[in-house]
Symmetry: none
Subunit: 236 residues, 2 copies
Amino acid sequence: MCPETQLYTVAYLIADPSRAAMLALLVDGRARPAGELAFVAGVTPQTASSHLAKLLDGGLLLCESEGRHRYYRLAGDHVAQALEHLAAINQMHPVRQKPLSQEARTLQFARRCYDHLAGRLGIAVTRALVEKGYILPAQDKRFEITTLGAEWFGDLGLDICALNPSRRGLARQCLDWTERDHHLAGPIGVQLLTVFCDNGWLRRSKNSRIIHVTPPGWAALARHLDVVQEQFHRPT
Amino acid sequence: MCPETQLYTVAYLIADPSRAAMLALLVDGRARPAGELAFVAGVTPQTASSHLAKLLDGGLLLCESEGRHRYYRLAGDHVAQALEHLAAINQMHPVRQKPLSQEARTLQFARRCYDHLAGRLGIAVTRALVEKGYILPAQDKRFEITTLGAEWFGDLGLDICALNPSRRGLARQCLDWTERDHHLAGPIGVQLLTVFCDNGWLRRSKNSRIIHVTPPGWAALARHLDVVQEQFHRPT
DNA sequence: GGAATGCTTCGATCCGCGTCGAGTCATTGT
DNA sequence: ACAATGACTCGACGCGGATCGAAGCATTCC
């Protein structure tokens, strides 16, 4: 595409309801075929195709052909980050949101972002980890893992040393979609969610990003991190 | 605004070249009058006004009326962050300021605003007055003059009691054009500049709003207010 | 007080782009 | 091979919105 890309060029790509719906579905990082994206956007396949071509050209998406299907995915974390930051503006300015559906509120409470824990629960857990002194917010949107933290993770069956840090480190700060705060991401975030699920504390949904907390899960969260169910009944 | 704010709503606001140009100019956090924003966007004032109203309504900008000017600024850091993340997608650097001319930089350093002192020097003087306890920021964009301050102004040959307060008080906070801060305005601000010039500390330019500081002026500023020349050599 | 400046509102015009129907290309299944 | 499926291209339509001229308000200057 034209190298002289301007700020409004990218925004323009997100500014269309159909394209935004597609992008919103893709923020979890997974790839989907064009037809599914057309369906969620509520447009015909040919319209969707036009949109996807634009997004591809604009560098927001990547495409992968697989048989007669073509799978689209976000071009990278930087795109997801930009989308999250845009969404955060909506949350900020004091306009009364419409009452959310049950599913939306559940999604807002706990969900997975890529494959780590997000939503109010994700933030609460992250805050607790910081307060307990297990992790420390550091430069460049990272967390530093303390020796105390490494020990705690180890007790849970999560061996820090066994993880190989990604390009951007072991523990990252990820901006949350619904709340204006960060939650724990990176390899250790992924592994933490896995351990929580293996312990029977959390449970992933099959067809959505919703995360459920089991009764033993609440007990464990209260025991380990002082995170209790009642604190999530706060207004909005 | 419509309560049902979606992702594309915010993106739509940034997706227009004119609006993007304005936002790009405002990412430094400083406030600018509508006319200047119209100029950088390359549109007429009425078009710019329409855009600014949309951005205001969308929660991206804040507005502050100051005399017959209306100063617009970003609604917060979260907006700047979102803009930078968007810009990052095109591997474009966060908006850099065009290099300023010599005159522009001098103007940015010290000038008169109506007939009081503005620019970085105006802000530094105002800050010093606050730190010394001579004036206090008060409600409704005013300053309160302390007894200690009245004494100090008197020593300079500026009789507070001889001034008749305008409709909006004796000492006002005036939003600065170049910096993201306020400087001292109102009758006492006008009189202070007069006294500084009478003392030979400052000198007005004939055909511009530039204010020059004389060598004795620097000495006096350092002696009275701890304002020294070196502090203005900070980057941009 | 009247003139000038800065900004906004209203109304009208015009272009851009999202949309879909029809047709084409590629892959898969029978 | 032929049909079926998934996706892309082309062309035409129609609406939304960016733009500017003219007029209206508010504030400041003289």
